[in-house]
């Protein structure tokens, strides 16, 4: 068996997401967020219509406003083991659906998985449950905007990472001609 040896893999044990104010937070998450600030390429902080560096808001100010500590402050399905009563700050983000004029708002703090979020969004916009939407195969795809203003598909990302970066949501109509 002439298999090449696998390259050494640097496995890092990620700390569990703790719920307790004052305890060490998920450093990895904040490092990821901050490294993104560090590695920010020119043109990342463009608005929805693609204008770089507009509106003229210090991109570091905008990031800091939103969601950076939200990951730590989520009970994240600790199902009663969290002990000390803690605040559950709401996390409202705007949701728009292609073809629907009025946007809505959803409190992501009430969810801990994409499936529960999907259920609420369907109910909100009156979509039938069977509308196949689970990352590409269906008529609508869930996309979200990250702190840099980019729109990303919410399909191959963990819920935790999603919560840490989502600014707003958009149910985007998939291309009707063939699957993407």
């Amino acid at each position: 068996d002439d298999r090449l040896p696998l390259p050494p893999v640097d496995l890092k044990t990620l700390p569990l997401l703790q719920w307790a104010a004052g305890e060490e937070n998920d450093d990895n998450c904040s490092v990821v967020l901050n490294n993104r600030i560090e590695a920010e390429e020119e043109g990342d902080s463009d608005g929805g219509d693609g204008i770089v560096g507009w509106p003229p808001i210090n991109f570091r100010r905008n990031k800091k406003q939103r969601n950076q500590m939200m990951v730590v402050n989520r009970p994240s399905s600790c199902s009663g083991e969290c002990g000390a009563a803690g605040p559950t700050p709401s996390m409202y983000v705007k949701v728009t659906m292609d073809g629907v004029g009025i946007g809505r708002k959803v409190d992501l703090a009430l969810h801990d998985s994409f499936s529960s979020l999907r259920r609420q969004l369907f109910a909100m916009f009156g979509l039938p449950e069977e509308n196949p939407w689970d990352g590409g195969a269906g008529e609508y795809q869930l996309t979200y905007q990250d702190p840099e203003g980019d729109w990303l598909l919410a399909d191959d990302i963990s819920w935790r990472s999603f919560i840490g970066s989502v600014q707003r949501l958009r149910l985007m109509r998939s291309s009707s001609s063939g699957s993407s």
């Binding site: 104010a21 004052g22 305890e23 060490e24 937070n25 450093d27 904040s30 490092v31 967020l33 901050n34 490294n35 600030i37 560090e38 920010e40 390429e41 020119e42 043109g43 990342d44 902080s45 608005g47 929805g48 219509d49 204008i51 770089v52 560096g53 507009w54 509106p55 003229p56 808001i57 210090n58 991109f59 570091r60 100010r61 905008n62 800091k64 406003q65 950076q68 500590m69 730590v72 402050n73 009563a85 803690g86 605040p87 700050p89 705007k94 728009t96 946007g103 905007q145 203003g149 600014q167 707003r168």
Partner: protein, 582 residues
């Protein structure tokens, strides 16, 4: 300076103070402008100023070299340096552009290691530089980093460890690699000199016990700005041990408190009779906000720009702040919130309204022209405004400046580029015309909306005291920029993006650029040839072009022009072309 003319004293015996006396007198002059004027009187005064100058402000780090500064001011103690062009805050400048502080530190360490204070804005600062600073300047005591990048919390740790006399550590809005809160624990156990500590923009937790011990040791602590992860319990304890604070930045304000905890926190705020500045407040709830009321009676600056308050929450808070002079908020407070400002803040001099969702394209209006008018009606002393909105009218702006003719800083950002007056569909020319005609003291202006060359004609004709102008998506032809270059003789900083100004416009300012700090032009119609022509004719200007990937060779995508006595810089990255007269 009023010099009484000497009568009938021969020139040879004319007044000649001993140098020491002259230097002593000069140390009483603090303002850099006065000092600069003094140094031009004669050689003796130049020399006396050089030896006695303790603080130097360098608005553009490339306008001069560290060697020149160290040679001229051998006993400098405090340096303020600004680096990258302001548009780097909006991601328009490549990361590796330059403005590295290290070469400055090397020169100061060899020439005058008595440096005590360093304040940097938009500079590149590495951990290596911070370590060098901490180890080579034994008297170092004040470090302020604003919008800098390149360092991590490890760098802060070396400063905390080695700077035994530190009185100020002020870290704001930087591109910092936030690895851990360990740095705070690096202050020695007997360290007690701190007067200013601002770590509000760091994310990682610091050890609360270490923080509390540090605060209770530092009896002279006046300014304390906590980060978001600081809890209300911790805040309560800190307030109790440091009632002498004058500036406080609280952490997250969302924690649910029991009635007892709330009462205790409110009581602790009551101790802080000297507070003039309050900030922080991430995710503040209305209930928690009420805990700060006892501390607000002397408040002059309230920064609520990190929490999306609703109008009612602001309206409940403001009556407790009768002395408010500066207010920063998010547009979530809406026009109703701004009406509350107008109704409760008669002494207000400055208001900044930031967008909660800058990239939000919804038609939901958060603040409109009504809000700004309401503020102007209730706050006649207003002289500084920064206002982000999605709609505006010419009439509203005219009303605002009629109510408040003393504006020195008028920065209006209508967030949709090129948007006209939404009631008349006309350009916003008359709005800014009203501003420059009415506000004779105007020093800084940022314009937006649909604007023709007429706006610039008004600016050139009326804004005679203008020092800084920021322009985006405006103008119809080269004439626009020409009007400004011809009319605004005091202009120091000009930033232009996405305007139809070409080489003729650029060259129309030929005679002006040496008396300005800098010019920025991006996404305009300037070509590389135009820049070369400028550089050829003006040897004391550095003309730099930042090339974007994939653009034509002849296009000057981003142009940065600045005066300098240091010649073209040698540390520009490959994407930055530097042109000189050579």
């Amino acid at each position: 300076m009023d010099l009484t003319p000497k009568q009938s004293i021969p020139a040879a015996e004319s007044t000649r103070f001993p140098d020491e006396v002259l230097e002593r007198v000069l140390t009483l002059l603090k303002s850099p402008k006065d000092r600069n004027a003094v140094s031009l009187v004669c050689k003796d005064w130049y020399t006396a100023d050089s030896w006695s100058r303790r603080h130097v402000f360098i608005g553009n780090c490339y306008s001069v070299s560290p060697e020149i500064v160290a040679r001229r001011f051998p006993r400098i103690r405090s340096v303020t340096l600004k680096g990258k062009p302001r548009f780097s805050d909006f991601n328009l400048v490549p990361d590796n552009w330059g403005a590295d502080v290290h070469s400055w530190l090397l020169v100061f360490a060899s020439g005058s290691p008595f440096l005590e204070e360093l304040r940097l804005k938009r500079m590149r600062v590495t951990d290596g530089s911070l370590e060098f600073l901490a180890l080579n300047f034994p008297n170092f005591r004040a470090l302020s980093l604003l919008s800098c990048d390149g360092f991590s919390t490890s760098g802060l740790a070396t400063v905390a460890t080695h700077c035994k006399n530190l009185i100020e550590l002020d870290i704001q809005e930087n591109g910092i690699e936030d690895l851990s809160g360990e740095w705070l624990s690096c202050f020695p156990d007997n360290f007690s000199t701190l007067e200013v500590l601002n770590f509000s923009n760091l994310i990682t937790d610091v050890n609360t016990e270490v923080l509390e011990r540090l605060v209770s040791r530092c009896r002279s602590l006046k300014v304390l700005k906590l980060n978001r992860s600081s809890s209300l319990d911790c805040l309560h304890r800190l307030l109790t041990s440091a009632p002498q604070l004058t500036e406080l930045g609280v952490g997250s304000f969302s924690q649910e408190l029991t009635p007892q905890q709330h009462a205790e926190l409110k009581h602790a705020f009551g101790f802080c009779k000297n507070l003039t500045v309050l900030s922080g407040f991430w995710d503040a709830t209305a209930l928690n906000l009420s805990a700060v009321y006892p501390a607000c009676s002397g408040l002059s600056f309230l920064n609520l720009s990190y929490t999306a308050l609703q109008s009612q929450e602001l309206a409940s808070l403001l009556p407790h702040c009768p002395c408010l002079r500066r207010l920063w908020v998010l547009d979530s407070v809406g026009d109703r919130g701004l009406e509350a400002v107008g109704a409760n803040c008669p002494s207000l001099e400055e208001i900044r309204v930031f967008p909660t969702d800058p990239f939000d394209e919804d038609m939901l209006h958060t603040v409109t022209e009504s809000g700004i008018v309401a503020v102007s009606q209730g706050c006649p002393k207003l002289h500084y405004i920064l206002y982000f909105c999605r709609q505006m009218t010419n009439a509203a702006v005219a009303t605002v400046v009629r109510n408040c003719p003393d504006f020195t800083h008028f920065r209006l950002c209508i967030m949709n580029p090129g948007q006209p007056d939404h009631t008349t569909n006309q350009p916003m020319d008359e709005a800014f015309g009203a501003v420059v005609k009415t506000c004779k003291k105007l020093k800084r202006l940022s314009i937006s909306g649909l604007l023709t060359d007429l706006t610039f004609k008004y600016i050139g004709e009326y804004a005679k005291n203008l020092e800084a102008l920021s322009v985006a998506f405006a103008g119809s032809s080269d004439l626009g920029m020409q009007y400004v270059m011809e009319g605004c003789s005091k202009l120091k900083k000009l930033e232009i993006r996405d305007c139809p100004f070409g080489n003729a416009a650029l060259l129309s300012g030929l005679e002006r650029y040496e008396s300005m700090r800098s010019l920025w032009m991006s996404a305009c119609n300037v070509t590389v040839d135009g820049c070369k022509a400028l550089a050829r004719q003006m040897p004391r200007l550095n003309v730099e072009v930042m090339k974007e990937e994939g653009s034509d060779d002849c296009k000057a995508d981003k142009v940065y022009v600045y005066r300098t006595v240091a010649g073209p810089r040698r540390d520009a990255p490959p994407s930055v072309l530097t042109f000189s007269s050579l």
